[in-house]
Subunit: 564 residues, 2 copies
Amino acid sequence: MSSKKIVVIGGSAAGPKAAARSKRLDADAEVVLLQKAPELSMASCGYPYYIGGNFDERNALLATPTGVVRDEGFFAAAKGVSARVNTEVTAIDRHNKTVSCTDVLTGESCSVAYDKLVLCTGATPRRTPIPGIDLEGVRSLSEMRDADKLRELVDSGKVKDAVIVGGGLIGIEVCEALSESGMNVNVVEMLSQLLMFLDWEIAKLVEKHVASKGVTVHTDNGVAEFLGENGKLTGVKLNDGSVVPCELAVVAIGVTPNAKLAAEAGLEIGGFGGVAVDDFMRTSDPDIYAAGDCVEITQRITGKKTYAPYGDLANLEARVVADNIARGDKHKFPGTVNSGICKVFDLSAGATGFSEQRAKAEGYDVITATNASPDKPGFMGAKLLVSKMVADAATGRILGFQCVGPGEVNRQLAEAAMAVMNGNTIWEVGMADLPYAPPFSLAIDHFITTAHILDNKMAGQMTGISNAEVKERLDAGEKPFILDVRAPNEFEEMRLNVGENLIPLGKLRNALDQLPQNKDAEIITFCKISMRGYEAQRVLEANGWTNVKVMEGGIMGWPFKVEM
Amino acid sequence: MSSKKIVVIGGSAAGPKAAARSKRLDADAEVVLLQKAPELSMASCGYPYYIGGNFDERNALLATPTGVVRDEGFFAAAKGVSARVNTEVTAIDRHNKTVSCTDVLTGESCSVAYDKLVLCTGATPRRTPIPGIDLEGVRSLSEMRDADKLRELVDSGKVKDAVIVGGGLIGIEVCEALSESGMNVNVVEMLSQLLMFLDWEIAKLVEKHVASKGVTVHTDNGVAEFLGENGKLTGVKLNDGSVVPCELAVVAIGVTPNAKLAAEAGLEIGGFGGVAVDDFMRTSDPDIYAAGDCVEITQRITGKKTYAPYGDLANLEARVVADNIARGDKHKFPGTVNSGICKVFDLSAGATGFSEQRAKAEGYDVITATNASPDKPGFMGAKLLVSKMVADAATGRILGFQCVGPGEVNRQLAEAAMAVMNGNTIWEVGMADLPYAPPFSLAIDHFITTAHILDNKMAGQMTGISNAEVKERLDAGEKPFILDVRAPNEFEEMRLNVGENLIPLGKLRNALDQLPQNKDAEIITFCKISMRGYEAQRVLEANGWTNVKVMEGGIMGWPFKVEM
């Protein structure tokens, strides 16, 4: 029997998983977990929900499903792992196979020997040197104490105005938390959209929803300066010169991997600044593994390295590390397809694989389809889903899928993630046998329908045009014939008001004289979700029109203002 | 340009899809849809929800998402399809390529010529020759008029007691509908469990839940006779001699394919009595296609033919038919993995692929894992999921996945269906990158965890035993040492009461003297969901015990009575 000494640095997600499983796989091993923070196994993805008051019990973030707090005593008794909190590792001596630590409370130092070392050092919120960033009131959200502080501010009721700097996942989650707790919230994003894993026109739907909740979103804008008085934040000056008064600003512009310890020990660092590991999660030192937010991993579609700091991946990486330490290096971590999801007020939004913009940036020639349609039958209380599927134009392989809406986004993204991972084509997905009953989905699942739309496009049955392109061309003064084929009552309720012509689909075959008589004139059809728009295209093409396009996603997918 | 005559027989699910898409793909085709019933495009899977009063608008079952009823006028105007209702096809003349029809209202007959014929003749509820089956009050649920009648009975408030004959999908959905509308419901099932796509111990959890709603479930029992007075049902006599009084009985013991028309025309019929088709959905006559509940299709795992009459598959099959008619026979329908889901009061229950019993019947050597655990973090309002994964013992390929519970079953089954279709192994699923955020799932998704449990079992890290086997052996008088490693407060709340010993996991390492000192004695560990049970096994094996098993699913998966 071995009596391996396994030392794990970092006690958030990957660290505890690697430590506990290492012990389960090798009962004779001595497993030590070193953690700088005072807490262990924090459910950090839950911080926004704690801040927003979804629950009040702070310990819920630290407890097992049966309510036992995962502290040092728990790790010793239940896991057989010797965990030491408030213990910062300051150096790795690879030659002597020891790590140097400091007790952050007492300042005492110590040294711990290892046979195998696991780096789970996590990541740090990115902070740019904006003037005033050190003012009291400028915060980030990374550690438990950050969550504590933000919750304290929420509970105090003293903060009226808050600014979120960064419209990514964490920014949006914190935006919701603060807004729902009663604060007046502004979100400032440098880029032209929120949630960069979505394409622009899909992200705009999220932005519209966020705005409908009273949040002001500033895109294409940045923070020029944090303004303050007596060391306290009083407002934010934006790049466009405007000033937003606030007592709280949360900077959430991404994270950078904590790789300093690794770098100082001479371990290889990757192109994104993270610890470089091979498929077995080994660093450049065969006795040192790494997992979690500090590492770079493989992007499964391209095979290239990427940086994907997500809690779920951290756990899987750590499982691979434990398996390889216990059983020899046989277990590979396959990497990420960039699956992600978030709640945004009454919407869910997420993606797996690549957006159109990202796929193009990776060099793919892509074809896409947008589908706005209900998640289940109307009589079961259907809610809208708006999706976009991105496929390789040459092979039909699905490269990515985005989905937002008040409907059942969760299932859609999960099945799409499995499809992307498996390299499925649109035709494979178009014939998927998924669970169906009216309380759960449509007879033809939304994801399958999206693949069918793309199939129709690839087969030349349907020619699509994106709402963004339609808007751009209208704004540029072009005058294509826009044909709304919905019913008059639908038009009454809501319309684009861009000079469109209303001819309901059921009347179209008998109203062809109302269309441009030049058969080469451009006609853009749409309806509520654009199924009828597609049928209109079929009808018009059958009657000789040659330049008909369907505006994908219909009026439900239109991210701009509608008239109601 | 062709001017093909396409005739489609049947107007429920597959028929309208085949007809409408045929017209979209070939605008010059003349498409005729012949339907015996007075309605078209009925959302028949929605009948139970209409009966149960989830909604009152009968037309919702017949309407498009925007509320337009899909009648003959709709098909003509919006789809360009000539639909004729109340039109029964009585014969196919393959030589002259015509079908003979009768108007079921007037008795008039006619003949329609075809170039391509599509059979979507559906299925008929199975009725066995039980004495009294023709009494007034003995009904089935297949057509719209059946739904109308059952809804009328519900609305009348006159039926106090109802018996459902058959505990399959439709039986359970109707059971819920009638029970929720206030009737006292008994379910009678010949076999030893409800929902045969589940394994026995998983189905028992559903049965327990159904019983908790006041429904009496009789398994291993059948109907010997329907009892009546003056031609009206008064009760049901069961095989065990007991009598259940009732004014309504709904017979839901499965359906048989409507293949008579095809058989009489000399088309090949399959081993299940359905119309035989090839991968292109062609019958033995190259000009006749078939789709929907009347056909036999391929089971994707075995490659053998099966009978899978589901509305979602009917739509996909019909799409393939339309594609092949329009574009030549190039499109294959890959078949089914038997994905299904249903709502059962506060639970969802479903499966994809094979259950353990079915996989064994198909000749597979299988290994299984049961996982009872929450769908998301406790602080987000977690609900329970109980799942069972079945994999091929030799290759680790996932053959099936079942999931029941009040939690998010829908996503679990959808991702599992994708995995089964793709032939994924437990190791592939164990490293899946699925969308994660606390409102939607656990950091390690329930499905992934189930794969991890199976990985642990296959690696020899964990030895499981099913709760059914534990119960059977205890009932037979065996006395294994049963070790509950939960906390005292959990034990206080709920316990098996089978003579178990309580030693909380955290105390186990210091309480080894309380265990059988014979290291070969059989010890069966468990906890709430059996994660701690597994950890206890690791601890005991590390201390020399050689015969330790984990009762999979823990007390939450225990389908028998618990003491509270």
